[in-house]
Symmetry: C2
Subunit: 177 residues, 2 copies
């Protein structure tokens, strides 16, 4: 059966966490405290006087440019898009400079996801699909289909949703349907 | 009852047709053949050798900037947003320079539509809502809620959907629910 799969971008196909680490090192000349990340967002694990600066990173020009790919996302989404309807559904609306950077990034790495299948939104309860792959539990909370929680440091303690740790696991799930 | 209403932007709240007319006059030093528009798209009513130029207008920087408002859209959406969940759902993904221009336009004219309630998409079958107000029949074709066709020159002959000719009519429909 052909399913519609809504796929988040940051921390699911695009490694935006790596940009936090890079910019933190650039600004504070020390390593980002990566060991403190489990269960937390980047701005929550830095010294309090730096939190506002780190929180603003994704609002700045360049943050979403040339992000590294999450392992296997490209190959496996190319396969899934052959059989299913794959949409990118990114909560880009919070970050106004992310639009064009995300658009170009998709063009570069996922040209097979047609512009008709790309969504920049805010509240994802507006999305109608059969599956949603996302690293944020609050996006799955309001989803009427089946949610798959893509593992990221900030969600490691979350028990509520079926967890996927890699794109290889996602491939197996859809092959078994 | 509180409903979720998905509202298109171009030709529904933003008068993008006026930008075609302006740019056409700028480029060809004559009036746009507005009398030929009923049932057609702008590029279909100009001399064939100009069609490609006109077709490219919305792909260019500045096309969606400072567009005039469709009459009463601001006041009536402000009222509707008090009682219902209003989302902007714009097929912006076709026009990559439209993102930031549309974002700023919403901030200027509809700041009460929160960024969480703004969607830039392509194929609107991804939208989950109770009502969709749109000037394109093909967006209503795949919608699972109730579609309202907002009158625009290109859709004057379409019979398939409940038609609304103005924001005053929309106000009446939602008041009568």
């Amino acid at each position: 059966m052909k399913y519609r799969i809504a796929v988040d971008m940051d921390e699911v196909v695009a490694d935006s966490l790596s940009r936090y680490l890079l910019w933190y090192e650039r600004d504070f000349e020390e390593k980002f405290p990566i060991d403190l990340l489990p269960g937390k967002k980047p701005f929550e694990v830095v010294p309090p006087e730096r939190a506002e600066i780190v929180k603003k990173y994704p609002h700045q020009i360049g943050f979403f440019e040339d992000l590294p790919l999450i392992e296997d996302s490209q190959e496996i989404l190319a396969e899934l898009a052959q059989k299913h309807e794959v949409f990118f559904t990114s909560a880009a609306m919070e970050f106004k400079y992310s639009f064009l950077e995300k658009y170009h990034w998709i063009e570069a790495h996922f040209p097979f996801i047609h512009w008709k299948n790309r969504v920049f939104c805010g509240d994802k309860s507006i999305i109608r699909a059969d599956y949603m792959i996302d690293d944020n539990g609050f996006n799955l909370d309001t989803f009427q289909g089946e949610g798959l929680l893509f593992t990221a440091p900030h969600n490691l303690h979350m028990q509520k949703y079926r967890r996927v740790n890699s794109w290889k696991e996602i491939k197996e799930i859809f092959e078994a349907l």
